[in-house]
Symmetry: C2
Subunit: 409 residues, 2 copies
C-alpha cells in the first residue's frame, strides 16, 4: 500500500468537528444535544434566495464565469458601496466557493513554502489547514481573555517579523472571540504592514455583526495600503446560507487578483445556483441586517446573564460576530467537552462546545477555555446554560473549590 | 506593494479560457461564436434536479456534513452498484465541490513537494494547476495522434519511474482525446502500479460516455491494487450540471480517505443544494444515460464526416467522452484559433477551439492540434465545421499546398 503525504498526516483535525462522534453517540442514547460548537446559524435564509433560483428557470446548470456571474459580482460591489466601501470595480473581485476558497487562493497567490504569516491567537482553526496546504508557517501573536482579547502593541508585532514574514491575517469581528477591532487597532496594523511591506489579510465575513452601537471599519478603507489589503467575504453568516458555498475575494491590488484568477480558472467555477440566490439577498434592504443583529445581541446578553451566574466562569467583553471564548473552571476543556457528551445529561440534554485549545497555535494555551457559538434561540440557550452549570457541578475535574465542595456534599 | 508568490506567477493560464477576451470582442462585433472550446454541454439538466431542490423546502441552507449529505453519498454508492462496482461503503467516499476539488484533496493527501506524477499527455490542462499548487512535478508520457493516442508500452512507463514517483494519473475516457482505455490497458497500468507501489489516480467523470458498443472498465474493479486506486468523479458531465459543483472522491483505501477527510473538514462542506438535486439525478433509470450517449455519438459522427472532407485534417479514432484532438494544416494552432476569433468570420459566425499545446507538458508538442468539444447540436456543429473549413482556406498560415494554392487563386 502506498503511503500518505507528510503534510496530509500533519493536517490537524477540526477542533470544531472532532467531537462529532461523541455527539452522535449521545443522540443515539436519546440525549438532546445543544449545538454551541459550530457556526451554523438557525436563522432562516431569506426566502428571496429560493425565489430567485426558482425564477431563473434554468434549463442547464452551466458553469459560471470563473470569477462568478457578472450580475452577482455587481450586486456585491453595490453592497460595498452602500457599506461605505467605495471605488471597487469588477477587476477587484473574484467569486469563490465560500470564504474558505478565497483564503486558499490568497495563500497560494502571495506565499511560497517557508513564508510566514502572523495571526492573533486564538484564531479560526481552519487557517492552520490552509497554511499547511500552502506550506506556510503560522506565527501566532497571543491575545488574552483577561485583556478582552485586545490586539497586542505594535512592538510585539514587530518583534515577530522576519525576512520570511509576508502577511498579517486578522478576522474582524473575530471568530472565535467575538472581538471587534476599532479604528485605532486597524491603523496600528496599517503602520506595521506599510513599514514592512506586508499583506494585510482580513476575514470580514461577520462585518454586519457589530454590537452596542459600535461601527465596523473595513480594512478596504485604510488609506496608504490599498495594494496590501486582501479581504475574504462570504454570504454564509451574513444571510444564514452556509450551505450555498458562495464567498468573495476582494483586493484593490489588481496584480494580485490576476494571479488569484488563475487558481479560480483551475477549479472552473463557483456554484451557480448559490450565486443566483445570493444576488437577490445582496439586494435586501438594510433593515434585514438589523433584525439579525438584534437577535444576536439578545442571545449574547442571554449568555452573559446565564454565564455570570456560574461560579468560576470568566466571560470577556464581546462586541461582534456570534461567538465568545469563555474560561471554565475545569482541568481540561477537551476532556470536559467530551465528558459532557459521553457521561452527562441534565433534564434530557447536554451541551456541545468547541474546546478552545484548537484555536491557539501556541501549545498549552486555551486549555480551560471553550468557544460558544450563540446560534440557538434564547429559550434553547437558557436550557443549554442550565445544563452547563449542572455539568460543571458534576464534572470530576472541576477546579473551583466552591464547586468541588458542593459536589462533595 | 508586496510581491506575489513564485508558484502563483508560475500557474499557467487556462488554455481553454485564455482566448475568452477575443471571443468577447468577436461577439461585440456581432459575430456568432461556435463554442467548441469548453466542456459545457448544451444538453438539459434533468428536471428532477430542480424539482428535488424545490421539494426539499429548506428554511435554512445549512452546511452539509463535510463528506456530503449521507443520503447523497448513499445514492452515489447505489449508482456504483448498478454500474457493477461492488463493495463500496460510506467509508470510501467523500463528496467534493466538483471533481476539481477531489483531485486537489488527493494531490495534497498523497504527495509532498518534489514528488512526481506520471500523466499520459495530452491531458486535461488543469492537472498542471493542481500539481503546481501541491508542488508536484508532472512527468508526461507522450501519446500520439498518429497512434490514436494509444497508451505507451509498459517499458516506457517504467523508464520514467524514479524514487520520487508516487502515482500514475489517467483520465478514462480521456479529456481531451476521447480515448477509451480497454481492459488490457488498465491491467498493464495495474502491473506497473503494483510493482512500484504507486497510486493509480483515475478521472472517470466521463464513465458513461463509451461508444460503439465498447465497455468502460473502472479502475475500482482492478484486483490486487484496491488500496492504490483513487477515483475522481462528478455530476457535471454525466447529468449536464457543471454549475452545481458536486463531485466525489472514491477509494477503497480508508486510510487515504481519512487523511483526505481533514482537507474536506477544512473547507467545511460541499454545496448543499447541488447535492439535493444530484441525489435525485443519481436515481434516474439507465435509459437516461442512453439518450445522452446516442446524442453524443450522432454529434461525433457528424464531426467525423465534416472533418473528413477538409484536406489536411487528421482525425484519430474517438471512442468516448465528448472531445477530440485533431491535427489542422496550420503553422500554429494558438495563432490560428486567435485569428479565427479576431480576423475571420463566415456567414456571420466563427469557431472557438482550444489550442492543444496547453494539453501537453512537453514543450513543442501539439502545436498544430486543437481540442474540439462536441457540446453543440448537430445543426450547429455542421455550420461550425463549414466555418472551420472556410477559415483554413483563408488563414495565412495554412500549411497544405492544396489549400495554399486555392487561397492564391
Amino acid at each position: 500500500m502506498p503511503g500518505l503525504s507528510q503534510r496530509g498526516q500533519q493536517m490537524p483535525e477540526s477542533p470544531i468537528r472532532k467531537l462529532v462522534p461523541y455527539a452522535e453517540a449521545a443522540k443515539k442514547k436519546g440525549v438532546h444535544v445543544y449545538h454551541l460548537n459550530i457556526g451554523q446559524p438557525d436563522i432562516e435564509t431569506p426566502p428571496v434566495f429560493f425565489e430567485a433560483i426558482a425564477k431563473a428557470n434554468l434549463k442547464v446548470v452551466e458553469y459560471s464565469h470563473s470569477a462568478g456571474l457578472e450580475s452577482f459580482r455587481q450586486a456585491v460591489l453595490d453592497y460595498y458601496e452602500r457599506k461605505g466601501i467605495h471605488g471597487l470595480g469588477q477587476q477587484h473581485i473574484i467569486t469563490t466557493t465560500g470564504a474558505s476558497e478565497a483564503l486558499r487562493f490568497a495563500f497560494m497567490s502571495c506565499f511560497d513554502p517557508g513564508d510566514e504569516v502572523i495571526i492573533p491567537e486564538p484564531f479560526y482553526a481552519n487557517y492552520n489547514g490552509f497554511a499547511l496546504e500552502a506550506g506556510v508557517k503560522v506565527v501566532p501573536i497571543t491575545t488574552r481573555i483577561e485583556e478582552n482579547f485586545d490586539l497586542p502593541e505594535i512592538e510585539e508585532f514587530q518583534a515577530l517579523i522576519t525576512p520570511r514574514t509576508r502577511a498579517i491575517l486578522i478576522c474582524n469581528p473575530s471568530n472565535p472571540t467575538g472581538k471587534l477591532y476599532d479604528l485605532d487597532d486597524l491603523e496600528k496594523l496599517r503602520d506595521v504592514v506599510k513599514k514592512h511591506n506586508l499583506y494585510l489579510f482580513a476575514d470580514e465575513v461577520y462585518r454586519e455583526f457589530a454590537y452596542d452601537g459600535r461601527i465596523h471599519h473595513s480594512t478596504l478603507n485604510l488609506e496608504g495600503i490599498e495594494e496590501n489589503v486582501v479581504v475574504f467575504d462570504s454570504i454564509s453568516k451574513r444571510f444564514s446560507a452556509c450551505g450555498a458555498r458562495v464567498g468573495s475575494l476582494i483586493s484593490r491590488n489588481s496584480k494580485f487578483i490576476s494571479v488569484a484568477m488563475k487558481y479560480a480558472q483551475a477549479r472552473l467555477s463557483p456554484p451557480t445556483l448559490g450565486q443566483i440566490g445570493a444576488e437577490a439577498m445582496y439586494k435586501l434592504p438594510d433593515s434585514y441586517y438589523q433584525i439579525a443583529i438584534n437577535e444576536y445581541v439578545s442571545r449574547r446578553d442571554c449568555l452573559f446573564r446565564a454565564l455570570g451566574e456560574i461560579p468560576g466562569v470568566m466571560v470577556p467583553h464581546v462586541s461582534g460576530a456570534f461567538y465568545m471564548v469563555v474560561r471554565l473552571p475545569v482541568d481540561d476543556a477537551d476532556k470536559f467537552c467530551q465528558w459532557m457528551l459521553e457521561s452527562f445529561s441534565f433534564e434530557g440534554g447536554t451541551c456541545m462546545m468547541a474546546p478552545a485549545a484548537g484555536f491557539y497555535a501556541t501549545p498549552g494555551l486555551g486549555r480551560d477555555e471553550v468557544r460558544i457559538a450563540y446560534v440557538l434561540k434564547e429559550s434553547e440557550l437558557e436550557k443549554a446554560m442550565k445544563c452547563l452549570a449542572a455539568g460543571l457541578l458534576a464534572y470530576p475535574g472541576t477546579t473551583v473549590p466552591e464547586l468541588s465542595g458542593k459536589k462533595a456534599n
